[in-house]
Amino acid sequence: MDKNFEFYRNQFFHEMRDILEHVNQDLLVAETDVENVELLNSIFRGIHTIKGSAGSFELPEISELAHHLESLLSLLRDKKLTLNSDMVDVILDTVDSLFEMLNSREKNEIQSLNQELVQRIKKFLPSTTKVETVKTTVKSKKSDSLIPDSIQSELEPFINSHKNVYQVQLKYTDDDISNGYDPLVFLKNLKKVSDYYYANPAMDKIPDIYNFELYKFYLRTEIYIATNLSKEEILDLTFDPELISVQVIADVESSQNKLSPELLDEFKTNSLELLESLESLIIEYEKKNSIEALNKIFRIIHTIKGDIDYVGIVFIKPLLIEFENLLDYLRKGNIIKDKKTADIILRASDEIKHYVLSISDKVKESKNVLAITDEIKSYIALKLKKQISPIKLNTGSDSISGNPKLSTSILNNFVQKLIQYKETLVFYKENKVDINELVDSIQKIIKVNEFLKISELDSVLSKCQEIFIDFEQNPENEILLKKCIQKVIDFISGLEGNSKKLGEILIEEKKLSPDDINHALQLQKLLGEILVDSGKVNEEDIEHALDRQELMSIAKNKKSEITKNFDSNTMRVDEKKIDLFSNLAGELIIARNTYEYLLTLWDNKNYEESLKLFKDNFHVFSRISSEIQTAVTNLRMTPVKGLFQKFYRTVRDVSHRQKKTIELLTKGEETEIDKKVSDALSDPLLHMIRNSCDHGIESIEERIQKGKPEKGTITLEAAQRGSNVIITIRDDGKGLNRKAIYDKAIQQGIKVNSIEDDSLFQCIFLPGFSTAKVITDVSGRGVGLDVVMTSIKELGGNIEIHSQEDIGTEFVLTLPMSMGITNALMVKVGDSRYAIPLENVLETVKIRPQKLKRIIDGYGFYFRGEVLPLETLENILNTHKENRKQIDLEDTNELSVVVLKSKNEKFAFIVDALLKNMELAIKTVPDTFSHLRYIDGVSILGDGMVVLVLNIEELIGE
C-alpha cells in the first residue's frame, strides 16, 4: 500500500485513540454535570470526527458504530434526551468497542460490528418509523394566500394526489432579453414537465404600444404548476438558476420526510466519498475477481444502508437491501459471478450516486431506482435457480474431505442457524414465501450441514436439490418437496432447545466421543475461546462452512481488555520539544564547522591561539551535548495526566458495581514521567486503585455509621522529588487491619519489627501472604499485590504504605523519572572499571586495613555503630575460588571501600580505586550475556572502553 497512506493511517489510529480517551473523560464529567452542553458538544464532535475519518480510511464498521453513537449524542446535545447512567454505560461500552475495533484494524484484522450494542444504543432513540399522517388540507390552507382563488379548486386535486405545487416567477432582466436569451424557451420546457400549468399573464403591467420599448421585459408573469419535479429540478430547467424564482406552495413529500439539511449534507459528503471509491473497486472485482474488493464493496453498501435509515431517505432502501443481498450471495459463493454481474453492480452504484446527488431537502422518487431494484431482484432469483446443480456437486466433494471434531458450543451455534432457516421452510409450507426464498434457505442449511455432517439431514437435503433442478417440469415435485421439507423441519425441531440430543446424535454418528462433549460442556466459554483454545477446529474448515468473518467476530467476542493493555510503540511529542532539537542540531553544525576552521589555523602553525580556541569550542560542544542529552530524556517524558485519566473510568465502574459513591481526585497531573515507566505503571496502578475501591472504601451504610461523608475519596497524586517521581494513592477508607496483619505475619514466621511500625504493611506484598480473609471479606481478583510490587521493583521503584484504621490508607510509589540514563560511581578493580548505580551507594570511605576484623571466613568493620560485612569486589566477581585475593591486614595503605545498600542489607566492597561519578547511558546486556545476572547493563566511556554496570541486589545475594 502507498507509504503515504500508511503514514496517515497510523496517524489516524493515534488521533482516534486520543479522541476516544477524551470522550471517556468528558463523559464521566458530563454524567455528574448533566447541564453542561459544551461537554456533550465536545463528545459529539469527537465521535463525529471518528465517524467521518473512519469512513475515509475504509473502516466502515467503525464508522457505522460511531454513527449510531452519534445519533444518540446528537439527541443529548439538542436536549431531546437527558443523560442518565444507563446511557453512560452504553456509551462507555461503545467507546470500548470502538477502541477494540481500532486495535483490531491496526493489526489488520476486522472486528465486526457488535449488533447487540447497536440495539442497546437504539433503545434510547425515539423510533424512526413514526409516520406522520399527511395533513394536506392544513398545508394548503396555510398557503392559501399564494394561490389565486380562481385556480384554487383546480389545484386542489393535484395537492391531494401528492404532487408538488410551485409558484414560478421569471427574473429575466431587460439585458437578458436584449442579449437574445428568450424566456419562452424556459416556459415551454416548464409546461412540458408540469401536470398542471397556469400562467397569470399580468397584462396590466404591459404598457400600451406608444410606451412599449422593444427590448424591455414586461412579462412579469406568475406561473402555477403541479409536478413531480423537485424545486432543484425546476431550477435546472434554465441555464442559469438566477433567472427564475420558485416558491413551494404544497410539497407533500417534503413535509412528510423533511430532512435535516445538516444531516443530509453530511450524509451526502460521506456517501459520495464511499461511492466514488466504489467504481474502482467494482472494476478491480470484475478484472481480478478479487474477493477483497467484493468485501469492500459490500461494506460500503452496508454503511450507506445504515446511514439512510438515520438520515431518513427511505425511498432508496429497497435498492440497497437488494444490492446488499446480491453482494452477499456473491461473497458467499451462492451466486457465481458472470459477465452481467459487474455491469449490474456498476449500474446500481451509479443509480445510488445519482439519487444521492439529487436529493435536496426531501425524499423523492426515482423511476431509475425502482427499475434497477427490480432488475437486481430478478437477477438474484435467476442466478439462484440456475446454480442449484453446481452447488450440489460442491457439497459432494466437500463431504469427502476431512471432518474435524467439533465442540458442542459451535454446534449449538449452527443449530441456532438451522432453527432460523426452519422458519422459511415453515412459511413455504404455508405458501407464504416463494420458491426463491426457499431455495436460498435450503442452500444455507446445506452449508451449515456441511459442517455438522448430520447424514440424516444430508440425504433429505440432496433430495430437495434434485427436486429443484426440474422443479417446474414436474407437477408432482411440489408435493415431494413439501414432504422433504417436512422431514427437515421435524429434524430441526427435534434439535431445538435440546442440545443434549444433538450431542447424542453426534455420538451415534461417531463424530464425537462422549469425552469430547463433556470436555466442551465443562468449558463454558464462549465459542471464540474454544475455537482458539481447544484447537479442535482449524480455520479453513470453518471457512468452508460459514462466512469466515462472522465466526472471527464471534471469536473476538471474548471480552478482551485490549484497550487497557494496548501498548503502543509510538508516542506523540510536543512540537516545542522538537523545535529545541532543531536548534541544537543547528548549533552542533556550527561547532563542527568551527573545528574545520581551527584545523586550518593549526596547519598555519598558529598553535597558541588555536589551542585556546580549541578549548573554547570544546566547551561549546559539551554544552550542546548535555543539552541534547537533556532534551532526549525530555522527549521521552509524558505528563502523568494520560496515565491518571484512565482511572476515572475504573473508579466509576467499580463504584457503580459495588453501589458505593467514590470520587477520584487527581493532583500533579502535569508531572512528567518516562513513557516506558508510564506504560509499565498502568497495570499496577489499576490494580491498586481497584483495591482501594474494593477493599479500602467502605459501603455507604458503613460510612454513615462511622460518621464519615457518604462519598469516599481516592486521591491520586504525582510529584517530582529529585530524579524520582512520587505517586501517592490515598483513600479515606477503613485502613489496613494492623493487628490482623501482625498476627498473620507472626503466624507465618515472618520477621516483623513492631506492630506500630508501618514497615509491617510490607508483608502484604509478599507472595502467598493471604490478605483475603484478614483484611477484607472480598478477595481481590487478578494480579495480587505481590505482582504489583514486582512490577514496581522492575521499574527500579519502591512502595511504602501508611495506614490508619478508619482514616485511610496511603500507598506511596517512588519511581525513577526516567530510564536509560543513570548516575553511577566508577570504580577500578584490577585493569577493569565497573559502574555502580549511585542509588545503591550509601557512602565511600577510606579505612586502614588494621581496622578490619575477621568474621568467620570473611571480614567486617565498624561503620557508624554497625558491623558491616566486607569483601573485595575482585573476589566477588572472580569465580575461581583458588585465586582469592587475601587482604593484607598489615598494609599501611588505606583501602577504598564502597558502602552499599540494597533492599534490606548494607554491605561493603573493597575496590582498587574510587573513580568519579558519571552520567552513563546504559544499554541492556546483549542476550548472549543475559545469564550474568549481576550485570545490569553496559555502557561505553568516552575513550571507547566498555564498562559493566553492576546489579548490586544480585551481587549481595550471591
Binding site: 442579449n179 428568450d182 424556459f186 434554465t238 441555464f239
Partner: protein, 121 residues
C-alpha cells in the same frame, strides 16, 4: 428549419466534438477557429446561437463577445461561453459584455446539448 449554431474554438478536436454532437441532435453548425474568423463567417448568415471558447489566439472570446454585442444586427444572438475553472475573471467580463450562459470545460457532449436546449429550445 434547423437552428444554426456557430462554434468558436481554436482547438480543432473540441470543435469537432461539439459539432458532431450538435449535428446529431438536428442542429446546423458553422465552425470558426477564433473571434476574427467567427466575425467573418457570421456575416450574411442568420445565426441562432453562438458557443464560444474564451482563450483563443488572434481575437479572444471576450473581444469577440464585445464585438457581437456591439453590433445591433448580432446583439440578439444568445451566447454560451466555454470556460474552465480558472477562467472566473474572464467569465465575469463575458457576462458584463452580455453573455449570460456558460459551460465549464470539460463537459460531456450531452450536457452541451442540454444547455443549448435550455437557451434556444
Amino acid at each position: 428549419m434547423p437552428k444554426k449554431l456557430l462554434i468558436v474554438d481554436d482547438a480543432e478536436s473540441m470543435r469537432g466534438l461539439i459539432s458532431i454532437t450538435l449535428k446529431s441532435n438536428g442542429y446546423e453548425v458553422i465552425e470558426a477557429s477564433n473571434g476574427r474568423d467567427a466575425l467573418t463567417k457570421m456575416s450574411g448568415q442568420k445565426i441562432d446561437m453562438i458557443i464560444s471558447d474564451l482563450n483563443m489566439p488572434i481575437m479572444d472570446g471576450i473581444e469577440f463577445i464585445i464585438q457581437v454585442k456591439a453590433n445591433a444586427a448580432t446583439k440578439m444572438i444568445p451566447i454560451v461561453m466555454l470556460t474552465t475553472e480558472s477562467d472566473q475573471e474572464k467569465k465575469e467580463k463575458g457576462k458584463q459584455a452580455g453573455a449570460k450562459a456558460w459551460m465549464v470545460k470539460p463537459f460531456k457532449p450531452e450536457m452541451l446539448v442540454d444547455v443549448v436546449k435550455k437557451v434556444i429550445g
